[in-house]
């Protein structure tokens, strides 16, 4: 029983972290067709923001709840600056945008390496996350449950925001048909900026969650970007539910592969799994049916 429960629970937590990392990516990719390779570095910025908050508010019980919105805003602002300075100039060159953001990511990584100690910084976990929960005989660390709850809260907030607010409606309209949205009086430029802010901010939130599970260093973003993108690709563009299912599936698959083989081999297998899956469904899990030829 343990052999089943442990990877399942660990994998779900891992999937939740992937989901947090992929949410923002899916949002910006779905809306603007832009792959932001610096998304992983925004995640890193969120984690470092959590560290900085802890330098001010030393009580770790309080600092993490404060760090979440701070990381959202800080990472979001970085994203906003990126959109305003670079991405809007490359609106019609999505592949080139990908490469430009690779450059941005390199610079952010190097900057973080020089500002913070190269071995990384410790982010203290709040005491209320120290405990364990016994699930069918398996002692499940509470911070994994916290990651899942955080991801659930973010998904709920995001989908409610997309569904019920006027901003959300405008974003959905732009995703479905940019030109028609524009002719209906929606400023797609403003919407793009807003989407980028929110998408990058979500990366910041993911960074806080990641800092509670793994280390906080300049390289941490790089290891999330590829799995996060694979999740977006496997889930289908602009599809929240696809991203959720794909993230969970990849997380659980990773955990089971790691349980059966080794951690690094698990990554290889998960990559191959996604590539094979894209053979079967190149458009991802859920797709908006269009008459598009592509």
């Amino acid at each position: 029983m343990d052999a089943l429960i442990a990877p399942l629970l660990n994998g779900s937590a891992q999937g939740a972290l992937l989901l947090l990392a992929a949410l923002g990516l899916s949002l910006t990719f779905g809306q603007m067709g832009v792959i932001n390779m610096a998304h992983g570095e925004f995640l890193m910025i969120g984690a470092f923001a959590a560290y900085l908050v802890q330098q001010v508010i030393t009580a770790s019980n309080l600092s993490i709840p404060v760090a979440l919105p701070v990381a959202f805003v800080v990472a979001g602002l970085f994203g906003l600056v990126l959109e305003v300075t670079i991405i809007r100039r490359m609106y019609r060159r999505p592949l080139d945008t990908l490469l430009v953001t690779v450059g941005v990511g390199l610079i952010l990584q190097q900057a973080a390496l020089q500002i913070f100690p190269s071995q990384g910084v410790p982010v203290e976990k709040p005491r209320w996350l120290d405990g364990q929960l016994t699930v069918l005989g398996y002692n499940w660390p509470l911070r994994q449950l916290f990651t899942i709850l955080l991801a659930t809260a973010c998904v709920a907030a995001l989908s409610a925001w997309l569904k019920y607010t006027s901003f959300g409606r405008r974003i959905r309209a732009t995703v479905h048909n940019r030109d028609l949205a524009e002719t209906s009086g929606i400023s797609t430029r403003t919407i793009d900026r807003l989407t980028f802010f929110v998408g990058s901010g979500l990366a910041g939130v993911a960074g806080v969650a990641a800092s509670l599970i793994g280390g906080t260093n300049s390289q941490m973003g790089a290891q999330y970007i590829i799995p996060a993108f694979l999740v977006v690709a496997a889930g289908g563009i602009g599809q929240l539910k696809g991203t959720i299912v794909a993230a969970w599936a990849v997380g659980v698959a990773l955990a089971f592969f790691a349980y059966w083989t080794t951690g690094s081999l698990a990554q290889v297998l998960a990559f191959i799994l996604v590539i094979v899956f894209l053979q079967v469904r190149p458009q991802g899990l859920f797709t908006v049916r269009t008459r598009s030829l592509a």
Partner: protein, 364 residues
């Protein structure tokens, strides 16, 4: 370029003279060896230019094919050095370990050379066929290739007994019977690399002026129209992708005797992106741009990268941003730009890339 083929051809000739006769006379052994290393990257870059510049496929994982060639060569050289015994690094972990099965055929020089050519062709063929027939393209294709590079680097890192892991394969003494320490033999290896680079340039030059080259550009700019004209864009892309993979593999294979070591760091995501950097800098769609850009970036990497590594990373990042933002066709487009400024402007033809995007949008 297609109008006056002899200009490009004499350019290649000049380049050949520079690399094959002037460089060995002028440069010290150390720098000649470095130039050989840059030439390895340049060979891979010429392939990237073909796939990305002309074919529009952003290949972000050429490290995979670079690795296939490099590790095939490195395994052969390791076995040649070890002779009848099991390679040293394997004995470290288990003195009685037998040679892994997949190493055995690489004892044969013929098999190794065939593997360097056939492995990338088969792998790229299967991968490309699967992806292009399913019409996976754009960012998906780019990230999937990059994911493969990450996966392969991780795999090699974790199989320390079979592939040497992070420390890689090194300490080669012989190169197909020649002692690698001998300066004359090192010169020979350099000349082989330089000659291979020239051959690759000739191959793409022929590609670019052929009908296939036209079709490749057409596929890049308006894939749907090519399909409606009765061609299968997947096949066109497949050929370009396989050729570029083959070139990466050749570059990787020659990298091993020149540099003397191959590690996962040389083939992973960062290394694959470095290969792109040179192509972008030089000019992705031009004939010489990718090779010259790769040599320039290789030079920066080995000089600045070792003396001022922090600064080099910033420069590399800025290079991506500035070049791609303001100079999408790289440095090789600069002369044409100045010429255009000097002369009165001819009426501009409609930009096909924009038209393709518009078509894309109409459809979605």
């Amino acid at each position: 370029m297609t109008k006056k083929p002899w200009i490009s051809l004499s350019g290649i000739g000049l380049f050949a003279v520079l690399l094959l006769t002037v460089a060995p006379l002028v440069l010290s052994d150390h720098w000649l060896n470095n130039l050989g290393k840059y030439c390895c990257w340049a060979i891979a870059a010429v392939g990237i230019g073909l796939a990305w510049g002309r074919g529009g496929m952003l290949v972000m994982g050429q490290g995979v094919f670079f690795a296939l060639g490099a590790y095939a060569m490195a395994m052969h050289l390791t076995l040649e050095t070890a002779g009848d015994r099991v390679p040293g690094f394997m004995v470290l972990y288990d003195p009685l370990a037998p040679l892994p099965m997949f190493w055995e055929p690489f004892r044969s020089a013929g098999f190794t050379l065939a593997a360097i050519v056939l492995l990338p062709v088969v792998v790229a063929g299967i991968l490309g066929y699967a992806l292009f027939k399913r019409r996976v393209k754009g960012a998906y294709f780019a990230i999937l290739t990059q994911a493969l590079a990450v996966a392969l680097a991780t795999l090699i890192s974790s199989t320390i007994r079979e592939t040497g892991g992070d420390t890689g394969l090194s300490d080669f003494k012989y190169f197909f019977g020649f002692v690698l320490n001998d300066p004359a033999n090192r010169l020979m290896v350099y000349l082989i690399v330089a000659a291979l680079l020239i051959v690759c340039l000739l191959v793409v030059w022929q590609f670019y002026r052929s009908r296939f080259g036209e079709l490749l550009i057409a596929t890049r700019d308006a894939e749907e129209r090519v399909r409606f004209l009765g061609y299968d864009p997947a096949n066109v892309k497949l050929v370009a992708f396989v050729v570029s993979a083959l070139m990466a593999s050749i570059g990787g294979a020659m990298f091993v005797p020149i540099v003397g070591i191959i590690t996962p760091a040389e083939i992973g995501a960062a290394a694959s992106i470095l290969m792109i950097a040179g192509v972008a800098l030089g000019g992705r769609a031009s004939l010489f741009g990718p090779a010259l850009g790769a040599i320039a970036v290789g030079w920066g990497q080995s000089s600045l990268g070792s003396t001022w590594p922090d600064g080099w990373t910033y420069i590399l990042g800025l290079l991506f941003i500035v070049v791609i933002l303001f100079l999408p066709n790289g440095l090789s487009s600069l002369p044409a730009r100045f010429m255009r400024r000097a002369r009165p402007k001819p009426p501009e033809p409609p930009a096909p890339a924009i038209a393709a995007v518009e078509l894309e949008e109409v459809r979605s």
